[in-house]
Symmetry: C2
Subunit: 501 residues, 2 copies
């Protein structure tokens, strides 16, 4: 099935194109959009796809936008899906649908796989992935990791081989600090080898702060943005561009001194978050052992403005960023910045600690059962890594579920945001009808993602109260104290980070 | 000189009392304060001394307050000083002086060393120290640590041997979680051995959030307070007491479920802080290596409400709490809560990382000099561990200074809040006249504490501009960008956490 790419939104199979020449379509699209500046977005993932929408619906400029991704089975469907009028991300943000609809009406958004497109671009936004290869034990414990920037370099090379003069290239990918400087060298080399002047391009780095939840679009368009450039002339061009797509009147741009600084800023932001989660992980275990309700402790501590960012207990850290960015940083420190530098010990330990969370969630859970757990019917509520988001990348629920599968096969999966759970190759029930999640056969309910749907929901609590002898496991603080008190009357309730139940 | 105790505020030597019987004085004091409830504060350190003032100036009750400390050379002077009308802490908070003056006028504050006082107490507040014994290498790297709670147990025993029935004991000391439960057992044993009923006392734990700076008093009286008790009856009595001394109408009390929870909450608060500092330490080194200004990066990141608590670079972590509380917690987890528990790995690493900061500050500094640094005149501005505070306990400047002493003896010490630097046995110049700190002989200026006096001070900047070729080392972010730009015209400026200078 090498030549088939399945649309993960619709299940439709697309045959891959026989050749990768899309020039005619691109030219036709651009003819319809003549006199418009052309923005090419390289990479149509969770950031690139929505960034394309934001550019196609720019605030103070009418751009022709072309998204580019690779003609591989994993990516081709996104291209085809966009051109077929189906946006390739399920989102709880209404604006995503609205923006996509508008771009169809305006006919100013096209997607392709042909690098020819770079030759037509006034602006190229780099939104491709740059992954960390993590090696882990079967406990999911990080044993080693490596960063390979060769794909990233190839993508930049592809731009350098095709781009026109005076193109403005804005790297948005989260990269190891030092990478934009490498991109600069590659671009210069390519331009020189094409007989062009080596500095006839603008280049900078700016990172998005996308949250693929209910404020998906706003997290790009209406939020603070940090940028930097390789030189003064690039700085001016990039600043001007960003002002056309972001509401900078309300959210002023922050300009940093050099590209290392913005690159570092991005991985630092995410490492800060990962670190604060890892920190509370250890205290969750401590609280469980000491008979303490860590939720009430954290509430007490958050009264202090200096301590507002302290995190709550949970099942684990997922998503594309927090699971790898501290490692990107540590790798950069040792490999790009200085060959004698030591690792970022605390940041690496943070990733290591967080990676072990699902295993603890599983051990804590199964400690209350013997082998006959295999006979019990389990409803797993939530497979996404984050509340109200249809994103299962590195979801901690994945590890929890895989470990649980070895003990029991009577597991029903529910998530209103996920049709098909790619990583475990299973369909997921998207119902929001609680009587399906909790029926007469259900023995165990696991809250595994903190979707708003499950929170403070009287209908759910009433339903649970009408049952007898359930085992309710809250891994993520879905239930509040009043609800727990009610449920304890008839059920067993266990909460991660709470030793007092 | 075993029988001499020196007043660190005034330099006056006191002869220690020949016997430790202070009954007559206590009785006389209480006779003058008859009909008042008696509050005894055990421990007259940075917390106990000020807590005494807050009780002596309670909001809705007129207490007779007696502070207790040990008749040792290290502590006796505090007792004598209070009774002589000199408060034993220098503070930038005007309210400290005001409150002390009022207590003298009302004659409702006395200090003693005689445990007899416990027999007169309605309330006993435990504010004694509970230290961690840290073993460190000569690089100041933590190699091992231990917690000895025997002194704390003795103090509780001393209360149990003397207290009257229905006394209310409130532990405020930062203790390893589990300690109040140990105190409860000790008190019961002592009461039983005195033929009293074993539960004729009230006991709880509540932690202060004292900041010994310009809001010293307010950090007790006008701030959120967390408490818990061993039982319902204790909870009621303690809550009532706290409401008489704290403005709970504006800062409502937080009641936690058990004493482990408040004990944990306190060490968690401080560990959170220590962790966040340690986290940024590593990134400071990274920034220095990558030519990045971490200050501007942190500013950019703090735009996000979820990242407001990210810290700034600095010379190190000092003070009594952050240097030990993560270890108290980790020790408790392994020794009081569970003998099979693992350590708090991240919290321990935080202490370890922070302890190494002064050494890096020193190495970074000396990397710009060769051996002839011994000929240069250095002004060290600030020896306190914290801005605007007269507190040198575990000051990071201590290690920095001691290492520097091996390279140079031409070091002048300045700090407006410190007369005498106990830990290094040196007098400190408290002048606020910059011409004394920077004169014609000065070659190097080190900003080692972030006192407000040094910040945004045009007089200082003008003076520096009138000089030539100074080496200015800012370890703590005293100088802003404009000032640095000005100073760079004539001087060398180096800032920890900034690789771009």
């Amino acid at each position: 099935m090498k030549n088939i790419s399945t649309n993960l939104m619709t299940g439709v199979n697309y045959e891959m194109p026989p050749t990768f020449d899309d020039r005619d379509q691109i030219d036709t699209f651009l003819k319809k959009n003549c006199n418009k500046k052309v923005v090419v977005v390289q990479g149509l993932g969770f950031v690139g796809a929505v960034m394309s929408l934001v550019c196609a619906n720019a605030i103070s400029e009418d751009y022709a936008v072309i998204g580019v991704d690779l003609p591989t089975p994993e990516s081709y469907w996104k291209i085809k899906s966009i051109n077929d009028g189906v946006f390739p991300v399920i989102s709880s943000d209404k604006k995503v649908g609205d923006f996509f609809k508008k771009s169809i009406e305006k006919n100013n958004f096209y997607a392709t796989y042909d690098p020819y497109v770079y030759s037509k671009a006034d602006f190229i936004i780099v939104d491709i992935n740059l992954d960390v290869k993590k090696e882990s034990s079967n406990r999911n414990e990080l044993t080693s990791y490596d960063v390979d920037i060769s794909n990233f370099k190839s993508a930049i090379k592809s731009i350098g081989k095709n781009c026109q003069e005076n193109v403005c290239i804005l790297i948005e990918t989260t990269v190891p600090p030092g990478t934009t400087k490498i991109a600069e060298i590659i671009l210069k080399e390519e331009l020189v080898s094409r007989g062009l002047q080596q500095d006839m391009f603008y280049l900078g780095h700016s990172y998005e702060r996308v949250m693929p939840g209910p404020n998906y679009i706003d997290s790009i368009q209406n939020f603070y943005r940090v940028f930097s450039a390789i030189d003064k002339k690039s700085e001016i061009v990039i600043e001007k561009f960003l002002k056309t797509i972001i509401r900078t009147d309300e959210y002023p741009l922050t300009k940093l001194n050099n590209t290392n600084a913005t690159e570092m800023s991005k991985v630092l932001e995410n490492s800060f978050r990962a670190m604060n989660i890892a920190f509370i992980v250890e205290w969750s275990r401590f609280a469980e052992e000491a008979g303490v309700n860590l939720y009430e402790v954290v509430d007490a501590i958050r009264m202090r403005p200096t301590h507002k960012n302290i995190m709550l207990p949970g099942i684990g850290v997922g998503g594309y960023c927090l699971t790898k960015d501290p490692l990107l940083a540590s790798w950069s420190k040792q490999n790009l910045i200085s060959s004698q530098a030591s690792e970022l010990q605390m940041s690496e330990l943070a990733v290591k600690t967080n990676d072990l969370m699902p295993m603890h969630a599983f051990n804590f859970f199964t400690s209350f059962f013997d082998d006959n757990i295999c006979k019990l019917n389990i409803s797993l509520l939530g497979v996404s890594y984050l509340a109200d988001v249809g994103d299962t990348r590195y979801s901690p629920v994945e590890h929890f579920y895989k470990m649980l599968l070895k003990k029991s096969t009577n597991i029903k999966l529910f998530d209103p945001f996920i049709n098909f759970w790619e990583e475990v190759d299973k369909n997921v029930n998207t119902t929001i009808d609680f009587t399906e999640m909790v029926n007469e056969d259900t023995d165990i309910i696991v809250f595994s993602t903190g979707h708003t749907l499950y929170k403070g929901n009287d209908e759910l609590i009433s339903l649970l109260q009408s049952k007898n002898n359930l085992f309710i496991y809250d891994t993520i603080g879905v239930l509040n104290q009043d609800e727990i008190d009610l449920l304890l009357e008839k059920h067993t309730v266990k909460v991660l980070g709470r030793g007092d139940l």
